[in-house]
């Protein structure tokens, strides 16, 4: 089976005044179609660089990023992005914000069809009745929901989420996790999620990738199989506790607090 997203042996260094600063060194990642890959790792390990590579916003120094077996050479309209900052445009209504990508991508829906699509997505995330509001009139969680709709409106092959729930309070965050599963059931997508939250990674991801500290390489991969969308209660089962423990331990290794030999 070929993967939709394939990252092989990627190395990348930023040029700084003090010489090159390597951020990625031997990164491998492979997400099958319909898969949802959660990426965790210590702060500043290059997770956001990874999203920019997949989105085609930058090219790696070495290695290859492919979508559907085709190397990524530049931005492509088949990608949807959402960030920690929802970056909604204050001068547009929520509905017009969601419709923004359709104005850009070639062959995007136009007119009534575009509006219907945006309204449908907004109803899917529970924002029915807020279409004509300005972003400033919405709460942080609602803005993030709208940002998610905008990322999905043009039916992207790949959804890239860079800590989208990082700035939300714990309860709102859990609400949004469930929304993500509801949306994914109706609007299937292949996704990469960057997160700092281990519970989030095992709740949303069907694959959790732990990156090592900078320069980042793929340190550990955990597969999580599930036949139906989880409930929040599933986070408090022994199996979840065991997964969290394993991941936490891997993060400690990544941070350099524990060596692999010592733990073996």
């Amino acid at each position: 089976m070929t993967s939709l997203i394939d990252i092989k042996g990627v190395r990348h260094a930023y040029k700084t005044a003090n010489g090159p600063l390597p951020v990625l060194d031997g990164l491998n990642l492979s997400v099958p179609e319909g898969g949802f890959c959660a990426v965790v790792g210590p702060s500043g390990c290059g997770k956001s660089t990874l999203t920019r590579l997949v989105a085609g916003l930058m090219k790696p120094d070495e290695g290859e990023v492919t979508l559907h077996g085709e190397p990524v050479r530049g931005p492509r309209s088949t990608v949807g992005m959402a960030f920690q900052n929802p970056v909604l445009l204050e001068w547009r209504s929520i509905l017009k914000n969601v419709m923004l990508p359709l104005e850009i991508v070639p062959g995007g829906l136009k007119g009534k069809a575009a509006e219907d699509r945006a309204r449908y997505l907004l109803s899917l995330v529970g924002l029915e009745g807020f279409e004509d509001k300005r972003p400033s009139e919405l709460s942080g969680g609602m803005r993030q929901r709208a940002s998610l709709c905008r990322a999905l409106v043009h039916q992207p092959e790949v959804l890239i989420l860079d800590e989208p729930f990082g700035a939300l309070d714990a309860f709102t965050r859990e609400d949004l996790w469930q929304t993500m599963h509801e949306v994914k059931a109706k609007e299937p997508f292949t996704g990469v999620l960057i997160t700092h939250d281990l519970r989030e990674s095992i709740f949303l991801g069907d694959q959790v990738v732990v990156l090592s500290g900078r320069p980042a390489r793929t340190q550990y991969v955990m597969e999580i199989s599930r036949d139906k969308a989880p409930s929040l209660d599933d986070l408090y089962t022994p199996i979840a506790a065991e997964r969290l423990n394993t991941l936490r331990h891997q993060i400690e290794i990544a941070q350099g607090r524990v060596t692999e030999e010592a733990s073996a």
Binding site: L57, S77, M81
Partner: protein
């Protein structure tokens, strides 16, 4: 209803109180009108010279507006260049700050000598020179502080630089732009008057003020001051109205 009535009546009352205090100040001190004219001296000046006020007021108005339009065009262009290119920002910023630091009153005689007799041109030029700086700075800051995520959201979809500018950078900069325009409109007005007062055989309200001075018609001088204030207020509120239309979204809903 009562709220909107209040909005009109309260400033009106304030204005009447101000005029009464002014009148009282002159009356109590028994000042002659060459020391300070009182509001009751102004009315005769307006009725006597109303035609002059209309003609000169129009002169001042169109030059100010033309200078301001030039300032907007040039200021936005410089702001865009500085906003998009770091190199240009580093190169132009010290020049602009230096130019802005020169008091424009000192430029007036230079310009008057440079383009002798071209009174309209000179006046518009000074109005432009004094008012483009805040516009250039605000546009450049607005553009250069655009969060990278805003760019990425569109760039990831393959949008061109021009699309990013029209869809995001330009509208996002509008509140800063209008903030600067409110400053610029007052400055342009000052520039116009500087030139009108200083240059011989000038026109406009500044020249009318100057002729009041040479003819010892002191009530006329004060009448011009009030007319200038009225014109300045009108210009300012036109900008405020434009801001409401084009950047009203930046205003937080009350409550």
């Amino acid at each position: 209803m009562i709220q909107s009535l209040r909005k009109v009546i309260v400033p009106l009352i304030a204005m009447v109180v101000f005029l009464l205090l002014w009148e009282a100040l002159v009356w109590v001190n028994n000042w002659p009108n060459y020391k300070m004219a009182s509001p009751s001296d102004l009315w005769p000046a307006y009725t006597r010279y109303w035609e002059l006020f209309l003609v000169m007021g129009w002169q001042t108005l169109w030059r100010t507006v033309l200078g301001l339009i030039l300032a907007i065009i040039v200021g936005v262009a410089i702001g865009m260049v500085m906003g998009f290119s770091r190199t240009m920002r580093d190169a132009l910023y010290p020049l602009l700050v230096g130019f802005n630091a020169i008091p424009k009153a000192t430029i007036v005689p230079i310009v008057a000598l440079l383009f002798v007799g071209a009174h309209d041109f000179n006046t518009v030029l000074i109005a432009f020179m004094i008012s483009f700086f805040p516009i250039a700075v605000s546009v450049s800051i607005g553009l250069s502080t655009l969060e990278p995520e805003y760019r990425d959201i569109l760039r990831a979809l393959g949008a061109s630089q021009a699309t990013i500018f029209w869809k995001i950078a330009l509208p996002k900069t509008l509140p800063e732009f209008f903030g600067a325009l409110k400053v610029a409109v007052t400055l342009a007005f000052i520039g116009t008057n500087l030139m009108e007062i200083v240059s011989p055989h000038g026109r406009g309200l500044g020249a009318l003020f100057d002729s009041g001075k040479t003819n010892s018609d002191y009530p006329l001088m004060f009448a011009v001051l009030i007319a200038l204030a009225v014109l300045g207020i009108v210009l300012y509120y036109i900008v405020v109205a434009l801001e409401r239309i084009f950047a009203g979204w930046a205003e937080r809903p009350a409550g």
